[in-house]
Symmetry: C2
Subunit: 201 residues, 2 copies
Amino acid sequence: MDSESHRPRQVGRGAKVRDAVHAATLAELVEKGYAALTVEGVALRAGVHKTTLYRRWADRESLVADALADLSAMDVPIPDTGSIESDLRELARSLVRMMTAPKGRALLAAMFSGAADVPGVAEARRQVFDDRFRRAEPVVARAVERGELPEGTDPSELLKALAAPVYFRLLVTGDPVDEITAERAALLALAAARAGALRRR
Amino acid sequence: MDSESHRPRQVGRGAKVRDAVHAATLAELVEKGYAALTVEGVALRAGVHKTTLYRRWADRESLVADALADLSAMDVPIPDTGSIESDLRELARSLVRMMTAPKGRALLAAMFSGAADVPGVAEARRQVFDDRFRRAEPVVARAVERGELPEGTDPSELLKALAAPVYFRLLVTGDPVDEITAERAALLALAAARAGALRRR
């Protein structure tokens, strides 16, 4: 009976349920970690009956993977300032802003909690990054056209060089992540690219 | 009664017990993760009575932190080839070799499993890296003396620039980590340092 009253009644309500469930999944991950995450807990927090959840998501693994994929679709602005140096600065600054904001912290917790090794989650994480790197490709293409970077510079390697120091601090050393981190990450990636250290293999 | 027979009887046996307990802690972490790690499980695997463990380690948090600190004391050879480029290559290669060998995988699992956010473990992890960066300082000092790197190059920033792409692959993208990863990491760090992007703040 109770499950009936929670069943989505209309087309359109589906998206709302999905949003609520994704938000609840991330909140549960941040608060409790993957080990303690349950479909019941997510349902309760989302205000949705658990049978509704089970109808769409087979298990907590697919819940987490799906929430991650959705979160990664967040719009990351792609800068076009006319110079690779300031484009890279912009990219590094948005990354730092994103990863230190609550939503970014949720993403980090979701991707690197006890869920990190779950195959569906690892795959979703890979897609998040592939997607992000792909969307930043025009920045590198324009810089090569302007003669600012060597021909054959690998956009994905450049983006990884930019992101790696930020994640290293967030995940490994625990050092603070701030504007200076962004500035250094941008300069580091730029220097490496100019020196030809980021060419396609 | 049983606990008596397992009590360390001699000075000297203490170190053996500690080694066995550290090894068992890491093995349990790799196999089961932090959430499922118990003092009882470690005791069983180490062949030591749990009362012996509790005498030295108050809880599983201190067990993990201590095992981590011990693992980090592994000898990492500090190269002195006469050139910063080949020194950095050597360093990157040892890092890659270490992190892809079973002991390094244990370290990674221990540091970035569900234990990652436990304060004692986070602190042990920071010490692992601080210690490692400190030991590699002479490499950078010699390069500055030889005029290969700008004055004021920060040894710790250079080491982080070298390590970051390796950890980014291991922890974030899941891309393969191999000789080419090491080569690229060394070139990237070198280019950034030469360009002055890794000077002391």
